[in-house]
Amino acid sequence: QQQVKQSPQSLIVQKGGISIINCAYENTAFDYFPWYQQFPGKGPALLIAIRPDVSEKKEGRFTISFNKSAKQFSLHIMDSQPGDSATYFCAAYPTQGGSEKLVFGKGTKLTVNP
């Protein structure tokens, strides 16, 4: 079973701090790595995504770092704000066996204290 392992399960950060969420994938080729943000009662929404031909992508306070050799990628939220409190999912599209199946990590519940 293709998997994406996400850590930590939960994270508490003070306002202004840096939130870091990590994901690792197993021995399968992937070609698209999105991060989704989900607020309570809502569906997940794309936050930022990266393809394996780059090692880092930054959008505002959100940065994805990608390490292809280690099969790891991470989300960094700089200057974390209470409004960032949500559940974050990493995901990956596998290329082998069809690229149609988006595989998700189990999620990280982020709480940013004021």
Binding site: G41, G43, P44, L46, G98, E100, G105, K106, G107
Partner: protein
């Protein structure tokens, strides 16, 4: 929510009854997906469709069937609901197999 409507939004049903959830899109996206979300398990793919009448199983497809007779509609049927199928169900759409997926608001299903 990117032109995706899930119905119903909430449903309570009894064990053993059939249940159908509907996902309707106005974006003309080729791919449609059904996921279930449970605490500690994240989002798990039930079934997906890559075109009209073209569907395939995901990782947790047992007890579920799907149909897609039109581009805009993707139906998920629980043939005989069980308590283990109590969950929040999300429909998602994407233009291609490796592009951004847009999610609906979800359907909270409770099987009693």
């Amino acid at each position: 929510d990117a032109g995706i409507t899930q119905s119903p939004r909430h449903k309570v049903t009894e064990t053993g009854t059939p249940v159908t959830l509907r996902c309707h899109q106005t974006e003309n996206h080729r791919y449609m997906y059904w996921y279930r979300q449970d605490p500690g398990h994240g989002l798990r793919l039930i079934h997906y469709s890559y075109g009209v009448k073209d569907t395939d199983k995901g990782e947790v497809s047992d007890g579920y069937s799907v149909s897609r007779s039109k581009t805009e509609d993707f139906l998920l049927t629980l043939e005989s609901a069980t308590s283990s199928q109590t969950s929040v169900y999300f429909c998602a759409i994407s233009w291609a197999g490796n592009t951004e997926a847009f999610f609906g608001q979800g359907t909270r299903l409770t099987v009693v």
